[in-house]
């Protein structure tokens, strides 16, 4: 008779405690330990982000409200910098130019990169694909600035391209200090990265989907548009986003290949800081750029994952 009441009191006692108390005593500790373990490795990144991204950003916001008197900055809370910059046509022109150039670079890079990424993903043998990926990484070995300077050797009026064209009696065609040159610079910056990003999204496409499309009378070219691109959409959009971000903030190509005309926001920032120590106004431009990139990135990511349950 003795074990019976004991057996009865146990569940009753358990019920008076918080539900699942015995197991709850073990699991959260373990979960806490796991999250602590993960945190230890994530912490340096967090500290880095707080120190070198969040604090400077806060400082930049504060700076945009400072004033400049006699070429010296003074802490202040004045909206005059915002009003001045947003009231200038030159600012909005530069904004429009930069947006248009970055959008064009993003589309152009994506279009030029796609056939390359497609060929590497679907047409090459495994070993050739490894070589192609390796070759795509090589451009990152050299500074972007050096690569842009070497384009000058090709594009200038007495550069390699015009000399060769001269042999067949053509040209010289002015290419340096044009939008075309700026665009070539943007391509130099983002093309290898876009190819790699596209390639990895194409490589993960389920090949049976392509076979299934062929089997349902979808020809080769049509399958690219009906199946390959929709399947790889997330990666393709993210790749285009990277091209946009890189081009939007780039200073090197528009100044050294485009000759500073038309003026982009990055050029406007340097001009503003040089003329009369107007760092607060430059902060307004920088913050506008950051805001624009955030909106574009958010919209792009939303579009990239549209219709996906996760």
């Amino acid at each position: 008779m003795v074990p019976e009441p004991q057996a009865l009191t146990l569940p009753a006692g358990g019920a008076s405690l918080p539900a699942g108390a015995p197991s709850a005593g073990v699991r959260p500790t373990m979960r806490r330990r796991i999250s602590l373990y993960g945190m230890t490795f994530a912490l340096p990144l967090l500290i880095w982000q707080i120190l070198f991204f969040f604090f400077p950003l806060v400082f930049l916001v504060a700076l945009s409200f400072w004033t400049v008197r006699n070429f010296a900055m003074q802490p202040d809370f004045d909206t005059v910098n915002w009003a001045t910059m947003y009231g200038r046509t030159v600012f909005w022109q530069a904004y429009g130019t930069t947006l248009a150039l970055a959008a064009a670079a993003s589309v152009l890079t994506s279009l030029l990169a796609f056939p390359a990424a497609y060929a590497i993903a679907f047409k090459l043998s495994d070993s050739a694909r490894r070589w192609a990926i390796f070759l795509m990484v090589i451009p990152f070995f050299t500074s972007y600035l050096v690569r842009v300077y070497s384009w000058q050797i090709f594009l200038s009026d007495n550069g390699i391209i015009n000399v060769i064209l001269g042999w067949v009696g053509l040209g010289p065609f002015p290419m340096l200090n044009t939008v075309l040159a700026t665009m070539i610079g943007y391509l130099t910056l983002s093309f290898p990265l876009v190819v790699l990003l596209q390639l990895f999204s194409l490589a993960f496409i389920d090949r049976t989907l392509i076979e299934a499309a062929h089997n349902l009378r979808c020809g080769r070219v049509r399958t690219v548009f009906e199946v390959v691109i929709p399947s790889a959409r997330t990666g393709l959009v993210i790749a285009a986003l990277f091209a946009f971000i890189l081009s939007f903030g780039d200073f090197v190509s528009p100044i050294y290949l485009g000759g500073g005309d038309p003026t982009t926001l990055s050029i406007l920032i340097t001009d503003t800081t040089k003329s009369g120590q107007q760092w607060p106004r430059a902060a307004v431009i920088a913050l506008t750029m950051i805001g624009t990139l955030m909106v574009v990135a958010f919209a792009a990511v939303k579009f990239a994952y549209k219709g996906k349950s996760t």
């Binding site: 076979e211 299934a212 062929h214 349902l216 009906e226 349950s309």
Partner: protein
Amino acid sequence: MTRDTLVSFEGVVKRFGAFVAVQKLDFEIKKGEFLAIMGSSGCGKTTTLRMLAGLEAPTEGVIRLAGKPINDLPTWCRDTPMVWQSLALFPFLNVRENVEFALKMRGVGKAERRRRAEHWLERMQIAEFAERNISQLSGGQRQRVALARSLVVEPEILLLDEPLSALDAALKVRMQSVLKNLQRETGITFVYVTHSQSEAFSMADRVVIMSRGKIEQIGTPQEIYRTPRTRFVADFLGSSNLFTGTVRKAGAGLELDSPVGRLRLAGGAEAGTSATITVLDTKTHLSVAPPAGNVNAVPVRVIGEEFVGATATVYLETAQGQEIRVQKGHDELADLPLGIGQPLFAWWMPEDAHLVAEG
């Protein structure tokens, strides 16, 4: 080739480098039949199906569809829709768009496309999920979408590559009857690749059994079950007892000297040659006393027993160590002592034994 032949394989060989996936296939698929191609993995059954679909090109030989050679016809120019093992549904399209896909590729107009897709969505009982994403469907519902997507063009032939292997047992049985009814009602020729004997035998009109890139036997499920033609088939089906020996007396009333004794059967073979006979486990009987009359009897001991539903399988061993299985209803075994080690006689009628080819 007869008039009711839809597909014929003529000396078809497929090699991947040095590996021979399929060697010398010669068989025909009749119009409107449900043909199952069965074998263990790597036997070449999927390669055979993929050649028919145009996803692989034969290395040698000719495949004809409705009399015309189709070797060089790419898959998008054939009407040989296939249902994949993974189903290969398009995750970026909803159910309706998946079903409409093949019609869209043929340039069928929007209204007509919708009407025809609707018909198949209803027929496959998935109309209520038409606007859903594929990821929101259960395994069985996905199966139905895959079938609707392939059948919407009302093809002459449908290829299925182990489509039920991912489903649980109960759903598998339900989908089998869905498939069989669908095939009977539409009259579309089904070519069904599987490694499952129960799937092949319960649905197919004819079964092709393949091993190592070759056809071992083609026939109705009954023919194959009752008279397996080769040792491989008998082993693969696993429902027969096999005895190997030397033929002693040829012609009618053939005798075989095997390790378990002298066995008689009704077939014919040349004297002096080695031969194997098979006896179905359901045609093998048990008795305590040596059976009288013109039967083959082997003394055995009971080594185990297994119950599945209404039938029991008794495992026995001969003095030479060969295992023999006997399958019976419970009541047929009621009067027998079946304790482990119990000596019994396993016996069968000579006409229930069949000679099989070695291999």
